[in-house]
Symmetry: C2
Subunit: 512 residues, 2 copies
Amino acid sequence: MTSTKTRKSRGRKSRRVTGIDQTPPAPYIQRQIATYDILNEEGLCLIEENAETILQETGMEFVDDPEILEIFRDAGADVQGTRVRFEHGMCRGIIRSNAPAEYTQYARNLDKSVQIGGNNTVLAPGWGPPFVHDLDHGRRYGTLDDFQTFIKIHHMIPHLHHSGGVVCEPVELPANKRHLDMLYSHIKYSDRCFMGAFIGEERATDAVNMAKILFGDDFVADNCVLYNVANTNAPLVMDAAMSGSLKVYARNNQTVAVTPWTLAGAMSPCTVAGTLAQVLAEALAGLALVQLIKPGAPCLMGSFASTISMQSGAPTFGTPESGKLVLAAGQLARRLGVPFHTVGALSASKIPDAQSQQEATYNLMMSVLAGANFINHATGWLEGGLVNGLEKTIIDADLCGNIAAFAEGIDLSDNAQAMDAIREVGPGNHFLGSAHTQENFKTAFYRPQVADANSYEQWQADGELDAAQRANKRWKQLLEEYEQPPLDPAIDEALLAYIAKRKESMPDLSYI
Amino acid sequence: MTSTKTRKSRGRKSRRVTGIDQTPPAPYIQRQIATYDILNEEGLCLIEENAETILQETGMEFVDDPEILEIFRDAGADVQGTRVRFEHGMCRGIIRSNAPAEYTQYARNLDKSVQIGGNNTVLAPGWGPPFVHDLDHGRRYGTLDDFQTFIKIHHMIPHLHHSGGVVCEPVELPANKRHLDMLYSHIKYSDRCFMGAFIGEERATDAVNMAKILFGDDFVADNCVLYNVANTNAPLVMDAAMSGSLKVYARNNQTVAVTPWTLAGAMSPCTVAGTLAQVLAEALAGLALVQLIKPGAPCLMGSFASTISMQSGAPTFGTPESGKLVLAAGQLARRLGVPFHTVGALSASKIPDAQSQQEATYNLMMSVLAGANFINHATGWLEGGLVNGLEKTIIDADLCGNIAAFAEGIDLSDNAQAMDAIREVGPGNHFLGSAHTQENFKTAFYRPQVADANSYEQWQADGELDAAQRANKRWKQLLEEYEQPPLDPAIDEALLAYIAKRKESMPDLSYI
């Protein structure tokens, strides 16, 4: 740990970041508002009962990972071949007896550590796209340079709280080695929390080893420093790529967000209630596995459930059904007693336009109202996750700030009640010059960076730019202003040595 | 009434409209979901108490309308000059004793009548813009031709429920006469409910007279056929332009939505709690006036509260503060026992872009979660209400459909639970070909019209259009497909004769 250095760095960075927005950068959102409950007690019990029935009657497949089958067999599950069935209440009991309701993921800058669970919401950027989009170059395959550009820009956005993971695939690097470069880039170019490598035991082990170099073995043994997602292959399958990394992270006491990923109509029933039961069943099995491997290991119930177009089969986002799914999934997670992981500013649009923000705004707001504790893809997602967009990142960031301010709820202090101001101003006058406004104007309202509220004439004089064109200027400005948070040179060297040694030991497996 | 004819017309229209979307056109939204409560009991009582204090200590100005002062004096209010102060609880008591909680506004096509209040939500298009925007001609002053184009397009959008009012100002017509042409256009080109003329006693009287020609004197005497808004001049003023029309509509048993319109920071305190108290105070005074004039007259508590930029003073929309304001105002209206009127897809953007839909989506969703019974400006608004946009109308219409589907809540029927489908499909297979999907795919998911979920390659082949460009094609298609709902020729003639006679009696007062 280089806590002294990083603390100093944070001080500098904080001042920089306040230049972007008047809101002091908070390490995460602490919601002061209620969650929105779309299902009543009866509906929730029905979904829970159906999930138990699925686990008992149909069960779940755990493929290519015999060790998992042993773990479940030892715990008393009915294991036949790769099919695992669970008695009514078994998974829920294991989870509720062991999983923590809340915990901390530590950042190398301790002041940027995030609290996972409770009323807290952590926003992370887009994950996984092979393509990158910006207005200057259009859509293209991602590179390590793009990857690092995204990390730097994300680092400069006060409304993001986490550096994330595969912000884009650096496809020019060998597919079996690039996780090392990605992990190193997060560590080097941001001092926020980051994600491990999700796919397979070997890469997960690299992530844990690199975290140990950064934080020290003892710190990692006792604390969570990596955030990881284990997706199911809906319906009702988990493969070795996911169970392999799940095992590594659980054993090392690092986060596993067990996240059924489904497109209703294709990978789950074409109904909200049916999809919810399947999502819950898959999450219960995965979370029970985490707790059987390491009782007390940090974990989240995840849900990434959207829909398909019934005409074309294409994935669709920002749909009413996706809103219902995330709200209900949040309720189910709270009843299970674990934090809730979900997704944010999703869109099927190819470009940052009216469609992308209609869909993204809808999704991100629903996720916050669902009481999500961690929202992945809170920025940048285009084209159903095939693309991370630089302009969209900036536009979504305004939305992230908006929901953070919304989540503060309504201030009811004497100052906020402003009764003296109303008395002073009186009928027919304006509040602009009142003492109350003068005292409060700096912090009164949230200020987005991209939205243009100017007159038409001023907008014309400014070049008639649309939101994406303004965002294009903004990300370049952020990149210009970016300063690398100092990293202890000894740690840097040790990380590079580890990466070099690991790369030497592997053949180049190149694919996109 | 031409109910037989219009019923037949509706039948034809319904079949046309189902071609646009698989959702059968509903005359209004019947929400099956809970409202979102942002304030708790303590917070609500505090705001209510503050509103009473404002009414008691500061009171409200009713200017240039001595009759109003008499009405209030007779009711026991403290009237000094044009200032009216109310004892604690006086306005609330009058409203709660008299105002209906729910009522029907009738359309000339009775099947398109809307229910105002309860769990119902009625969506109306943008109101008031002097300018029109479309991609072909950019931004320009509105004309009667634009006005009628909007009515026709709105009529073809199944997710709108109301024809609205000043969908744009036909600025080429004399300002004192154009309300006649606007009212006639609504009656002629749509068979949905419509709004009266809001400004002044004379124009309101014309609206009532034309409604009597359309519906018959007896029907209008007993039923609500006009929807009207009375805005306050925040802070704490109502002028004769508004109180004049309010009186006419109340006396004739027609809707008055008393709607404080405020930009916090300029027209009310720069805080949510302060603005809420002022909004409630103004609404209480206005609604009490309606009920004093005509006990039992249909009325709504309205709120149109947004913010300004504290840098430039420009109005801002889709802000976190506006979201909090509408949610809390909805709660306050429900406690008052009257339906709640508010606003929808607002934006400060000049064009239908990422900004416009980020702001519009945020606002419209908040208004629905606030339990709004009537949402004005649910489509089209750009540039802070200076512009109604044709493409934005189409893009917003998708959002209206989305929230209608969302408001249906989660179906928990056996079919929706889909347990047999999950059993049948089993782990690792897909649901596309399952019997359950085959049976449900037509109605499974909401289908927006503008959103493009196709592959990048297909989108390229289709011309790489953004959402606004696709919407441009769509409104032209709707206009092409539009069919005028038949109007009894005798009524048509009588309306035209009334308009001609009225116009003759007035000088031309032309202004924009």
